[in-house]
Symmetry: D2
Subunit: 273 residues, 4 copies
Amino acid sequence: MRILFIGDVVGRSGRSIVLERLPGLIGDWSLDFVVVNGENAAGGFGITELIYHDLLAAGADAVTLGNHSWDQREALVFIDRAERLVRPVNYPPGTPGRGAALLEARNGARVLVTNAMGRVFMEPLDDPFAAVERELAACPLRDAADAVVVDFHAETTSEKQAMGHFLDGKASLVVGTHTHAPTADHQILPHGTAFQSDVGMTGDYNSVIGMAKDEPLNRFLRRIPGSRFEPAAGPATLCGLAVETDDRTGLAVRVAAVRIGGVLEPAVPAFWS
Amino acid sequence: MRILFIGDVVGRSGRSIVLERLPGLIGDWSLDFVVVNGENAAGGFGITELIYHDLLAAGADAVTLGNHSWDQREALVFIDRAERLVRPVNYPPGTPGRGAALLEARNGARVLVTNAMGRVFMEPLDDPFAAVERELAACPLRDAADAVVVDFHAETTSEKQAMGHFLDGKASLVVGTHTHAPTADHQILPHGTAFQSDVGMTGDYNSVIGMAKDEPLNRFLRRIPGSRFEPAAGPATLCGLAVETDDRTGLAVRVAAVRIGGVLEPAVPAFWS
Amino acid sequence: MRILFIGDVVGRSGRSIVLERLPGLIGDWSLDFVVVNGENAAGGFGITELIYHDLLAAGADAVTLGNHSWDQREALVFIDRAERLVRPVNYPPGTPGRGAALLEARNGARVLVTNAMGRVFMEPLDDPFAAVERELAACPLRDAADAVVVDFHAETTSEKQAMGHFLDGKASLVVGTHTHAPTADHQILPHGTAFQSDVGMTGDYNSVIGMAKDEPLNRFLRRIPGSRFEPAAGPATLCGLAVETDDRTGLAVRVAAVRIGGVLEPAVPAFWS
Amino acid sequence: MRILFIGDVVGRSGRSIVLERLPGLIGDWSLDFVVVNGENAAGGFGITELIYHDLLAAGADAVTLGNHSWDQREALVFIDRAERLVRPVNYPPGTPGRGAALLEARNGARVLVTNAMGRVFMEPLDDPFAAVERELAACPLRDAADAVVVDFHAETTSEKQAMGHFLDGKASLVVGTHTHAPTADHQILPHGTAFQSDVGMTGDYNSVIGMAKDEPLNRFLRRIPGSRFEPAAGPATLCGLAVETDDRTGLAVRVAAVRIGGVLEPAVPAFWS
Ligand SMILES: [Fe+2]
Ligand SMILES: [Fe+2]
Ligand SMILES: [Fe+2]
Ligand SMILES: [Fe+2]
Ligand SMILES: [Fe+2]
Ligand SMILES: [Fe+2]
Ligand SMILES: [Fe+2]
Ligand SMILES: [Fe+2]
C-alpha cells in the first residue's frame, strides 16, 4: 500500500502547490492514501471549511491539525461534520471533532489516522503517549486497520523520536510536524514503522517558517510586534514522506522524502518512479 | 574554498566515525576548512581536552559548542588554552574562552568561526543577533575574513531561519545545531549565504537524540528519572553540510548535505565527487 | 474545625522550626488537622522516610509533595507504606504512592487531602483540574469528607487562582505551594473556600527561595553552575494558613496567615489567640 | 524620606482606587515620592497617554511598565515625551522611551527609578542584572541619587530574590511586580535595601490575576480561547509597599505592606499612622 504524508500546508503558496500537484502525484505514484497537515492552510493560521474541501478535492484522504487547529474559529463548528479532519487526540474531553478516524483508502483498505500534540515547549495537554496508545489499542494494526498513520505535532526531536520508538511495530508511519523544516532522518525503525522527525512544511522556504521574513526578524531584533505575520508569497516546496507498506503486516517496507518545487533540493521516491 | 561543517558529535559512536572518516574526506574532497560541533562529544555531555585534541588531530580546524559547553567542568579551564575551541559568544562577559576565532585554513585563507546560542526555549542569554552582528562587524567578510562560519545553536526553526536571513550576504554559511536531526532545507539564501536549519548530530540515529532509547522513553512515559542518559552505542551517521565558496566574494556557490554511515539515507556532495 | 496548612519546609532550618513549634501550636490553637508540604524537607530536595516520620511525630496529619517528590529516591519506595504522604495526583497512572488520602482528624472528622501539580512553567503532566475534580467527586465534601484540603503546587498565580475558583464551594481550602514566598491574598472565596495563592516556604527568608544566596546569584549572573545548591542555614519562618471551617458545611468561616520566626513580619490568627 | 510603590494597576477598577485614594494617602502619610506600575492600566493591557496623565494627576511621580508595555501601541509614541514613564531597561537598544529616570521628589530629593524585566519564564531579553547594575553605577545612591527605586518585573521568586540580594545596599527598595499577588515577605535586607518579592496588583482580587474569572477558567479547562480577557469589575485592593529611608544613607529603615479596599485583609504602615 502506498501512503503519502504532506506536511503543514502554509497559506496560499502552500495550498497552490498541493492543489496543482497532488492529483498528478496520486496518478503517477498510484497512491492509495494521502494525509495532509492543514493547520496553517488559511493564511498561515488554522483552516476553513472551504480549504478543507479543496484539500479533499485535490486528493487528500485525511487532514490533520495541530496547535493552530482553532485559529479560524469556524473550525470549532465545521469539524463536527468534517469526517476526514483529525485534530490532536489529547485535547481535553469534550473538544469538538475527533482525534482519530478510521478511513477507507482508494484500494479499499482501512487506514487509522491519528494526530497528537507534544508537550515539550508546547501548551499543556494530557499525555500524548497514553492517548495514542489508547487509540491504537482500540483499533490495532492488522486486526482493525490495514495501516496506521500517526501525525505527532511536536516541537522537540526528542519527544518525536521517543514517540516513534514507542509505536515502533504498531504503526505504519509516525511522522512529526510543527517545526516547518523537513528532517533528513526518515528511516524504517527496527520493528517496521516508518519515521521522520519532521515532514517539514509545504510552503515558501525563503521565509521564516513560511512567513514573510520582515516581521519575524523585526520581532527577534526589537522584541516589539510591528505588524501581523503574513505568509511568504514565493513558490512553495511540497514536503512529504512517501511510505510503502507490506499489505500483510501493515508495516513499512520503503520510505523516502518528497520535496517538489520551490527553493529546496528536489526529492522523489525512486522506488515509485 | 571548500568548507565542511559537522554537527553535534555524540559520544563514542559519534567520535569514532569522525576520527575514522574525516581524514579521508579531507583528502577526497580537498577540504580547506572543517568545523565540528563538539558539545556532546564526551559521553553525550560536554567535551574534554583529550577529545578536543582528537578532533583536531582528525582534521577539525575549529570546534564549536552549545548549551552543553561546560558539562565536563575541565572545559572551563582548558578552553582558555584551546585556541580553536569556540563557545557561544552570547554568554555573559567574563565567561572563559572565546565566542569567535579567526583561524587559518589549509589554503592559507582566514576563516572567522563564531558560535551563538538561541534564546527561544533555551536558557536566557543576551541577544545572539546583536552579538553575532558585533563579531561580524569587527571582522567583516572579504575585508578581514575570507570566509565566515556561524554555528547558531538553537531549538526553533524560526530563530534559526531568522538568523540565516539576518546574516544573509555577510556570512559564508549559517548552520543550526542542537536539535540533533538534520534538516533537508539546506539552500543558498538570496544574498549568498549557505544555510541549513540544523546540521543534525553525528551519532547513532537509532536512539532518542543520540541517547539509548530506554531512559528517554521512561521519562516521557513515567515523568520520573530511572537512570542516567547514556549515548546509544550503534553505528553513527556523520552529518554535515558541505559548502563551496567563491574565493572572491566569500559567499556560497554550492551547498550539499553530507550523511555517511549509520541508519540514515547516505548523501555526499555530488560536486566534489 | 481548625486546620493549619504549613508551606514547603526547606532543609534543616525549616524542619527545626516545625519540630520545635508545631506541637505547641496544636495545643495553643486546639488544631484538629495539620498538613505540611514536605517536598524540600531533605536538604532542600525531596523527603526521606525519617523526616516524614519526624513531621508526623511533631503533629502533621498529612504531608504533601510537589515537583521535588522523588529527589530522594527512597521516596519512590517508602511512599507506598506512608499512608499520610500525598504526592501530586496528576502523575501518570502507575506512579508510586497516592494522590489523595482520606484521613481522620484529631476531632474524629474525616479530612480529604489532595495534592496536584500545575502545568504552566512546570513539567508536563495531565490536567490537574480534571484530576482534582475526580478526587472530589469520589469523596465529596459533606457526604464523604468533613473537610477537603487541596495543595495545588504550581508556579503561576493565574493557574492557582483559577483552581481556587474552580473548587470554590467544593473544598474547605485550596492553597498554592511551590513559589516559596507567602502571598498576602488569603481570603474566603464567594462560595466558601479558603484560598491563598501561595502559603510560602517554611525556611530561611534571607536566601533565594530557601537556598544560600551565593550559588543562585552566581547562576543568574554567570549562567554556569559553580557548586550545588545548599539550604540557607539561618532561622526559618514557619509560614502557614490557618483556616476555621463550619462543621455543618465544611466550608471556611475564618482564614488568617501564619508567620512565626525568622525575618518576616510575624502573623498569627487573632481569632484563635 | 517616604516612598510608596503601588503594584500593577489593572483596568478601570484598579485605576479608580488609585485616583480616589492616592491623593489622600500622599497627604495623610506625607509621602515624598510615589511610583505606580501601570502596565495593565488600560483595560488590563498596557497604558494610554490619558491614563498616564491621570496617574500623574493623582500624585504618581513615576510610572513603571513591564511585559505589557506596548499593548496599547500609542505607548511606543507618547513614551518619548512622557518623562516620568519608565519601561524595562533591558529591552534592545533603540527601544522607545527610557529604562531609568532621575526625578525630583516632593521634598526636593533626587530619586532614580528603574524598571527591568526578568528572563525566567518571560520573553528573552538581555541580562537584567547587568542592565540595572549599569544604571546604578551611572547614578549611584548617595552620590547622584538620594533614593533608588527598582521595579523588577519578573515571574519567579528566585530571580526576584536574587535581584534583591544583588542590589542590597545599592538601592533603597527593590520590588517585584508581574505576578499580581502581593507577597508577605517584605523585609529590609541585611545591607539596607527594602525588598518584597511582589507588590501585588491593584485590582479586583475576586478574579484571576485581575481578569473576570470565566475566560481564564475556560482556557485552563478547555485549552481553547472562548472570548477576550476582560478586567474584573469588582472593587479593587490598592496594593503597595511603604518604605521610609534614612536621608543620610538612602537606605530603608522601615518597610510595611499596604492593602486598601477590596477583598484582601487591610494593611497600612503603622509607623506613618
Ligand atoms: Fe504548522
Ligand atoms: Fe504547529
Ligand atoms: Fe547537541
Ligand atoms: Fe545543544
Ligand atoms: Fe517547594
Ligand atoms: Fe516545588
Ligand atoms: Fe506583567
Ligand atoms: Fe501586570
